[in-house]
């Protein structure tokens, strides 16, 4: 046997320093994914240490093992069903009483070996707290070690102890350390007795723990029992549990689960008396003083807005430089390949399909890196929860949580990182809601479209028109938020009860790990799907290759060249330069006409004309329709496709403006098209992100359908309402 594998799970409250310890143990050898079926992040790391293969699992940060939030269910199921060799509970020593609530529950499971790490013992010490860890260990019959996670102290000893526990034959003590009052204990005994004959049943948990859960009316455990036991004994057990609950309810005039929570805290109060002493030391509470400023009634919001502005600037302004470099690199690569490879379909696929497609995604990498660095900074310092604290009142009006503000704001830059930022929301409903409405925040890629359309048709009022477009987006987001809250994602709001952790100096290492995790995920998972998507779009715009051109372009080009060659020969020396540019212009013009025809006759063009009746009622012609379809790849493409179809060069140029006016577009239809661009299906990168972050194809398709439907209806109202009112 080369190496024995030992699985160690880290449990603990949010902000207990659990992730810091995890990062210290595993470094960059982490695998970040999702727990099966849910969007709760699962972190796993493998290392070799002390001659063992250690598999470390970072469980979600939780306060309790009651099956209320997904995080709690995930953590509990893991401990119960996967049976890690050791569970290390990271206890925030400066927050002992509350931390012990989870700790006692872990102890109650009575299944795996539990080990307590009294973390941040330095902070506790600085506050004048003294904790008798030997006594704590004795009282709960669990080994207790002191650690200082952010200084990496005591972590090696912790691992050593965990290995020792995993290797020892000693099973966890059967002695019951957590005790309730007599009424409850006797109710537990009654249920344990009923469970006794079924101890060997498959999938049954420890009987005392099961009994406690039955008294708490824990649906997950009930369902488990139903599956594990024969029908009759289960019915008897269920009935007995119900009648015991009834009795307790009458005795305490309170739900039994509440009584048990109360009693656990009573039990903890007893422990606290024995192990915890505090020498009141009057010292300045730095964190509290900082918070008095950062959430101050008058300066709190201005400071908050400044931080957000700075984040936005960093992400999109600073990020623009490396973006340009990547852009240039991609362009350089395609030019290089363009020269090196012989003309062929494969070359076209490589350059215009694959490189262009993947290139359009990889340019987001700097944005993503910077944004996630900023978000990690907000989270690790503790400022993120203050953002939620400040913004909750406003966001709550839309049925959202205070933390939804950041993703929605980022949406103005780019929806991809914005939707990924929704991960900071703990409740799945809040997260979904945020993901669904974020695409209505008009992303920066849509701006070129507005600039061309508004600039052409609204002249000096273009700025105001674009501003209105942005407002419409926000309004639609608000209305949609309220709509979803009362229909699809109904249910009580997740309680806002949220800890405001003390401000801490972040560790660079964990910031970088955080940033890299997210970015890696973006690159790996997006790459594949976007690659396929771009190839499909490319194929649609290139095939079929056989159709009748309205004229013989190669011949016409040859004639053109011949004419100019003749002219050049006849011309005097002064005229040569003029002739040369003229010749180039004519040649480009002809090539553009040819490309316009090719695009118009491609599958994309055919689809565009087939669905032209769909766009007609909202004042968009088939060229607009095709551009909008192409915009699924990236919104910038809407403008360039319009350019191609109108056979003009360079987006935003005067030529395109004139062509648009000539094509019969009016200010009203331009406005209608802008509304459509604002609201319709997000780009492929965003769609893929929605799929990934909602963990479901259903929500992805819902988002596609909803946004496009809303876009059409809104454009319809704008276009036809405008016409009725006499606009054109």
């Amino acid at each position: 046997m080369a190496h024995a594998e030992i699985t160690i799970a880290l449990a603990g409250n949010p902000n207990s320093g659990k992730t810091t310890i995890f990062n210290n143990i595993t470094g960059t050898r982490q695998k970040v994914g999702n727990w099966p079926g849910v969007t709760v992040e699962k972190k796993e790391g493998r290392i070799k240490k002390f001659g063992y293969d250690l598999k470390i699992i970072d469980l979600p940060g939780i306060y309790s093992l009651a099956p209320f939030s997904i995080e709690e269910i995930v953590a509990r199921d893991y401990i119960l069903d996967e049976c890690p060799d050791v569970v290390i509970d990271i206890i925030d020593a400066s927050n002992l009483e509350r931390s012990l609530y989870l700790a006692t529950q872990l102890r109650e499971i009575g299944r795996s070996n539990v080990l307590f790490a009294l973390n941040m013992s330095d902070v506790a010490h600085a506050r004048g707290y003294k904790i008798d860890s030997a006594k704590l260990s004795e009282l709960l019959d669990v080994p207790v070690l002191e650690t200082i996670g952010n200084k990496n102290q005591g972590v090696a000893a912790l691992l050593q102890k965990a290995i020792e526990m995993a290797e020892s034959e000693i099973t966890p003590s059967k002695e019951r350390k957590v005790r309730y009052s007599n009424d409850i204990e006797s109710a537990i005994d009654d249920l344990v007795l009923l469970l006794a004959p079924h101890l060997n049943a498959e999938g049954l948990y420890e009987p005392r723990w099961t009994s406690v859960k039955l008294l708490e009316n824990d649906q997950v455990v009930l369902n488990r029992l139903k599956a594990a036991l024969p029908e009759n004994p289960f019915a008897i057990l269920q009935e007995k549990a119900a009648s015991l609950r009834e009795i307790l309810q009458q005795r305490y005039n309170e739900d039994p689960e509440i009584v048990l929570t109360d009693e656990r805290y009573g039990f903890i109060a007893g422990i606290m008396k024995e192990v915890f002493t505090t020498s009141p030391r009057k010292r300045i509470d730095m964190s509290r003083s900082i918070d008095k400023v950062l959430t101050n009634r008058f300066v709190g919001f201005p400071i908050f807005l400044f931080f957000i502005w700075a984040m936005f600037q960093l992400t999109f302004t600073l990020g623009a430089y490396p973006m340009d470099w990547i852009d240039a690199g991609v362009a350089g690569l395609s030019t290089l390949l363009g020269r090196a490879l012989p003309e062929s379909l494969l070359k076209d696929l490589l350059i215009n399909g694959i490189i262009a497609g993947v290139g359009s995604v990889i340019v987001f990498l700097p944005n993503i890196l910077i944004l996630f660095f900023c978000i990690a900074l907000f989270e690790d310092t503790g400022y993120m929860s203050r953002c939620a604290f400040l913004m909750d009142k406003i966001m709550h009006l839309i049925g959202l949580h205070g933390k939804s503000f950041i993703p929605m704001l980022m949406g103005f830059g780019c929806n991809v990182p914005a939707i990924m930022a929704a991960r900071t929301l703990e409740s799945e409903k809040d997260r979904l809601l945020t993901i669904l409405i974020t695409p209505f925040m008009s992303c920066s890629a849509k701006l070129p479209v507005y600039i061309v359309l508004a600039g052409t048709f609204f002249g000096p009022r273009a700025g105001s028109v674009i501003f209105i477009i942005y407002l419409v987006g926000i309004l639609i987001a608000v209305v949609s938020g309220r709509l979803f809250r009362t229909t699809l994602l109904r249910g009580a709001d997740a309680p806002f009860v949220m800890e405001l952790p003390p401000y801490r100096v972040p560790m660079l290492k964990s910031l970088l790990i955080h940033m890299w995790d997210r970015s890696k995920m973006f690159l790996r998972k997006m790459g594949g799907i976007i690659l396929i998507g771009s190839i499909i779009i490319w194929a649609l715009s290139v095939f079929p290759r056989t159709f009748h051109y309205s004229r013989d372009y190669p011949a016409a080009l040859a004639r053109l060249e011949a004419v100019y060659a003749q002219k050049a020969a006849d011309a005097g020396p002064g005229e040569k330069a003029v002739l040369k540019t003229e010749r180039q212009d004519r040649r480009l013009e002809m090539q553009r006409a040819m490309r316009a025809e090719e695009t118009a006759n491609s599958f994309m063009g055919m689809i565009g004309r087939t669905i032209a009746p769909v766009f007609a009622p909202i004042g968009i012609d088939w060229r607009g329709g095709v551009s909008l379809l192409a915009g699924f790849v990236a919104k910038e493409i809407v403008v360039s496709t319009l350019g191609v179809l109108h056979a003009v060069d360079e987006e935003g140029s005067e030529a395109l403006r004139q062509a648009l006016v000539k094509s019969g577009m009016t200010p009203l239809s331009a406005f209608s098209m802008m509304i459509f661009v604002l609201l319709y299906i997000p780009c492929i990168a965003t769609v893929v992100t929605i799929r990934r972050e909602s963990n479901s194809f259903r929500w992805m398709f819902f988002s596609i359908g909803y946004t496009t439907l809303v876009a059409w209806i809104m454009s319809f109202i704008v276009y036809n309402g405008g016409r009725l009112l006499g606009f054109s």
Binding site: F68, R98, T295, L390, D392, K393, A494, F496, L500
Partner: protein, 83 residues
């Protein structure tokens, strides 16, 4: 249990900087459970640290740590003023 003591009031009515002791936690389901699990059980003392700039949510200190909760949620908690 008589919540209509002269001293009893809703947590949402307690002003900044005032101490209070929890008399009862009302409400239902997840909210109530969460409040209790965070250690805000009957008899626990707390301090109202501040209200957010828009007067909602509020921040309280209980058992040495800071919790924010919405005013609406705080109104489910009956407290008596300490002092």
């Amino acid at each position: 249990m008589n919540h209509r003591d002269i001293n009893a009031t809703r947590l949402s009515k307690v002003v900044e900087g005032q101490r209070a002791r929890i008399v009862a936690v009302g409400g239902s389901g997840a909210l109530r459970r969460r409040i209790l699990e965070m250690g805000m059980t009957k008899g626990t003392e707390l301090l109202v640290e501040k209200y957010a700039p828009l007067r909602d949510p509020m921040e309280i200190i209980v058992k040495g740590f800071h919790i924010s909760l919405r005013v609406e949620e705080a109104s489910e908690i009956t407290v008596e003023i300490v002092e």
